[in-house]
């Protein structure tokens, strides 16, 4: 579904973006066609892992079940999850992601450090769809 957006396991887990070799702009989700900096003549974009940690730009949560194409089991009661927008200092980019399970808005503040960790978006009998989660640094699942 989102091939090439992340890689690795455990402490080696990283979001993957692409970088323009000419102007150094980083793209996430990955831009594979052409650099989108209008001042840049571009070149072949190269894959690059993003910083593991960043600072919270803002956060919120979803108290109601999102519509499709989000996948959730309508048989189960809805469990709200938090969404965190994270500023990566080196890349000067803000990346949105779900918070790790168990992390609620009450646990978060703007400016707090978080790290990227692997997570499960959903799973059925045949497939587990993995994703990235943001988790306050130092908190173990």
């Amino acid at each position: 579904m989102v091939t090439g957006w992340f890689t690795g396991e455990g402490d080696g887990f990283r979001l993957l973006g692409t970088r323009c070799p000419s102007c150094a702009t980083v793209f996430f989700p990955r831009e594979d066609v052409h650099c989108r900096n209008p001042h840049c003549s571009g070149g072949s974009l190269e894959e690059v892992p993003l910083s593991r940690t960043g600072r919270i730009w803002s956060y919120t949560d979803s108290r109601y079940r999102p519509p499709s194409p989000y996948v959730s089991n309508p048989e189960l009661p809805w469990e709200p999850y938090a969404l965190i927008a994270v500023e990566l200092v080196a890349e000067r980019i803000v990346v949105l992601g779900q918070a790790a399970p168990g992390v609620t808005v009450a646990d978060l503040t703007v400016g707090m450090e978080v790290e990227v960790v692997p997570g499960v978006l959903h799973e059925d009998a045949a497939t587990t769809w993995t994703t990235w989660h943001w988790r306050p640094t130092g908190v173990r699942a």
């Binding site: 989102v2 900096n37 803002s58 979803s62 108290r63």
Partner: protein
């Protein structure tokens, strides 16, 4: 030669959940605008429709769909899609035709029959669509983005949920006076803060609903208006349809990430502020000239952001402006005199047109119980998904 175009007529279909086709809403609004203009449909040289993405082909070809419903009479037709900015782009297209001499009178129509609950992307497995991706990968609804903006304002500017609630109180009071509004009931701050949380820190009454609705304008050259016996028409002086400048560093709907600012320093103004700035520059006017403004209050917190983006106050001072009553009726610059999206809800292709309907009625002195005394200059501001700017400045 003047670059103004005249607003000869404005019309709406009341907003709500009516369960009818968008064609019916748009046609009703169009007939109301034509009647208001005193223009026969057969005199209209061009129809510009703001598209709805629902309803199959007829929605995507809104201009011709409305022309057919009104009765084929050979007019030019155009259809535009720019998400929430569709209406402003329809107005821009109509204005360009008039100023280019391609048509004397143009009908602009936008209407929608919205689904209940959250907006969602079109169906299918479409990972190349950023709107589909944010739902599929993150479950990030529109209110989730509004929640992010609201929380950011609380952290950076010290806004409170009580400030946000006051926006709803103000807009609901105006909407109660507007016969076209869906919600016509005053609301208290206590009711807002007691409503269910949708996307922390925002509650149900902080967030606008989805609605059915339609709005239409009859635009013409100023010469036509004079020949038609309208000596002092409301005039559109500027239409801003700008895109962002790279790097766009505010997380915008429907994106999962911002542009990186590694290579290029961000512009000194955000995208939303640049929408207003382009309109001011085109009109040769500034925020100090405004009598009123209609802004896109998808959420209460977002209205405060627009105060700053329109230059009504400095950055971070939106809540202070609201608390001082500056943006309320009787204040220096009343905002959302129509009741705003808080009272109307979203009917996407119609809303930027509906904003200009309100400006027109206010500038004519025909806004009834919600009239702002002596209104001379009005501005609307809006932003469409995928980087569509939208602002209109109208004068009398």
């Amino acid at each position: 030669m003047t670059r103004d175009v005249a607003v000869l007529g404005a019309g709406m279909h009341p907003w709500g959940k009516w369960g009818r086709s968008f064609v019916e809403y748009g046609t009703a609004a169009a007939r109301a605008a034509l009647a208001d203009a005193g223009v026969d449909w057969r005199e209209v040289g061009s129809v510009v429709g703001a598209d709805t993405v629902r309803g199959g082909y007829p929605g995507y070809v809104a201009g011709a769909t409305f022309a057919k419903a009104l009765g084929w009479q050979g007019a030019r037709a155009a259809s535009v899609y720019a998400a929430c900015a569709s209406g402003a782009q329809a107005i821009a297209a109509a204005r360009a035709q008039i100023l280019a001499g391609l048509a004397d009178v143009v009908l602009v129509v936008g209407a929608d029959a919205a689904p209940k609950g959250f907006f969602r992307p079109a169906g299918g497995e479409r990972p190349d669509d950023p709107d589909w991706l944010r739902f599929r990968v993150l479950g990030a609804t529109n209110p989730a983005y509004f929640g992010l903006y609201a929380r950011r304002r609380m952290a950076v500017h010290g806004d409170t949920p009580e400030d946000f609630a006051l926006v709803k109180v103000k807009n609901a009071a105006m909407g109660a006076l507007n016969p076209y509004a869906r919600y016509r009931k005053r609301v208290t701050a206590e009711e807002v803060t007691a409503s269910a949380v949708v996307a922390d820190p925002l509650r149900l009454l902080d967030i606008c609903a989805t609605s059915d609705g339609g709005a239409a304008l009859v635009l013409s050259s100023v010469d036509f208006a004079h020949r038609h016996g309208v000596a002092r028409p409301v005039r559109i002086r500027a239409v801003s349809t700008v895109t962002p400048r790279f790097p766009n560093t505010v997380l915008d709907l429907p994106d999962i990430a911002t542009d990186s600012a590694v290579a290029v320093e961000p512009a000194d103004a955000t995208f939303r502020a640049s929408i207003a700035r382009a309109a001011y520059e085109e009109a040769g006017l500034g925020p100090e000239d405004l009598s009123l403004a209609e802004v896109y209050d998808l959420s209460t917190a977002l209205e405060l952001q627009w105060y700053e983006d329109l230059g009504l106050c400095g950055e971070g001072e939106g809540a202070k402006l609201l608390r001082a009553g500056v943006t309320a009726p009787g204040g220096r610059i009343p905002v959302n005199t129509s009741g705003g999206l808080a009272s109307f809800g979203e009917a996407v292709p119609a809303q930027a047109i509906a904003q200009v309907c309100e400006l027109t009625w206010q500038l004519r002195g025909a806004a009834g119980d919600r009239q702002i005394a002596g209104a001379r200059v009005g501005m609307s501001a809006n932003q469409g998904l995928f980087g569509h700017g939208s602002a209109v400045i109208a004068v009398r």
